[in-house]
Symmetry: C2
Subunit: 286 residues, 2 copies
């Protein structure tokens, strides 16, 4: 049986809101309270039924489970006082997209064992409580960091939830997580935002350019719809890894530009051909 | 009534094959012949029912309509001899992704009026006869270049086909087409290929990185599955415009890298925020 009866979700955006909706379904006896420093979001979340009631940060000492789904730089700041306030058998799970700095922030905290660092690899390009949808996490990967530092009974209850969400669990060192995720997630966002910027700048002078855009452009630029308030802190917290991946990306683009400039079409072909096996790598992802 | 009874489709890949499938449906009285210098593709296309019969380049003098759906550098070479061989009331439509060089190749041809330069903005990341699907062109944009140079009665019959395909027609100068399409299509492919390359290179040393990839990565990297044999000639024929767009893209990425390096998070935020209105621009594209 799951002991999480009073659940506080901090941050009612895409991830926090979607998780709230699922928790209502899989833990029908629990009451889900929403906390958000944006009053409009809080009202909207209650209105949409994303959470059962609105609550305040000060009420966190009542919670059995706290979900921390706020921008990653804020999570680093709020996690220590949350642990300070937590009941003895309560757990806080952080679900942000970077894991190194948040784990470091509570490394020496006396209640470190009441914390679980998690990253559900799930999302859409939309944001806010209205973007919250059921089953966002189904069949997606959940990365857990430093599980050995979380109290066993609390970890087990969290695992029950992730199993009910039908997630695939992976275990990882938080700094390895941040290095890898820079490549497969954070870089994609920069690539997409800057592609959108390049085309929008061109369009200022050349009208109707978007009439020519097809589904290929829509696909590569989709992530440029993402929320800057979410992504600025992610790039800040994962700066070194993001810069490394971005530097390699620019180097590869510059090489492609150079071989095209030199009319070296054999190399232009090879550059693409050697990347084609991404087909098999991505099998199953959509 | 449409006079196109004998239709020869040159090139039975994604575009030529998909168009063949639709032509069989919308012109049931026509016979569709396939021509491809890849014998396996030719047999496959007949076997799959993509075309009615296989044929040879030499039989093009029998055709009422020729669809030229081969790599764009080949189209420039084959178009003049096709026009030389064509019957008096026959039309050849080129459906390649660049339009400047193919229009230039027949600018002075005595049978220029029997040619129509077209670019259907439609596709998938797959290739070959097995990638050919019905209704690929439905509700998509068809760009026509220099229609004033095509004989009116032939143009009208072509327009009947595009209407039956339920395409949205746009008219454009071929060199403007190539400039714009470099931004909204060709650049997306390079962006995607080099993103794939960057992550694959990283993965050589860091196993299991793709377990962490989500739908966002899959979306941005989707075009890296595209056929290098199609895309190398496109980049070659549209080299100047592609280089211009790629240079601007690299400049924008480098600026983003510099502001992140300098911890200028206000500017990092603005870079993304200013691109967010791509949402409204892309409305309706998927």
């Amino acid at each position: 049986m799951n002991n999480f009866k009073n659940i506080h979700v901090l941050g009612l955006g895409l991830i926090g809101g979607s998780l709230s909706r699922d928790l209502k379904r899989i833990l029908p006896e629990a009451v889900i309270y929403g906390v958000d420093n944006n009053e409009d979001h809080l009202d909207e979340a209650v209105g949409l039924g994303v959470v059962d009631h609105s609550s305040r940060f000060e009420a966190i000492n009542q919670a059995d489970l706290v979900i921390l789904a706020i921008p990653v730089d804020q999570a680093n700041l709020f996690l220590p006082p949350i642990l300070d306030a937590l009941k003895e058998d309560a757990l806080v799970i952080d679900v942000g997209s970077t894991k190194g700095s948040v784990c470091d922030a509570v490394k020496e905290h006396p209640r470190r064992e009441q914390f679980l660092a998690a990253h559900p690899i799930a999302g859409t390009e939309f944001s806010g409580p209205s973007a919250a949808i059921e089953n966002l996490f189904k069949n997606k990967t959940m990365i857990l960091c430093e599980v050995e530092k979380t109290r066993q009974d609390l970890l087990e209850q969290a695992m029950q939830i992730f199993e009910a969400l039908e997630m695939n669990i992976r275990y990882m060192n938080p700094h390895s997580h941040d290095k890898h995720i820079a490549y497969v997630s954070h870089l994609s966002h920069i690539s997409s935002f800057m592609l959108g910027k390049t085309v929008i700048e061109k369009e200022k002078n050349e009208k109707d350019i978007f009439d020519m855009a097809g589904s290929g452009f829509a696909s590569t630029v989709r992530l440029a719809k993402s929320n800057p308030a979410t992504w600025t802190p992610i790039f800040k917290e994962n700066k070194a890894n993001v810069l490394e991946s971005l530097t390699e990306y620019i180097t590869n683009l510059t090489h492609f530009k150079n071989v095209l400039e030199a009319d070296d079409y054999e190399e232009v072909f090879n550059e693409m051909h050697n990347t084609n096996h991404i087909k098999s790598i991505l099998k199953g992802l959509s």
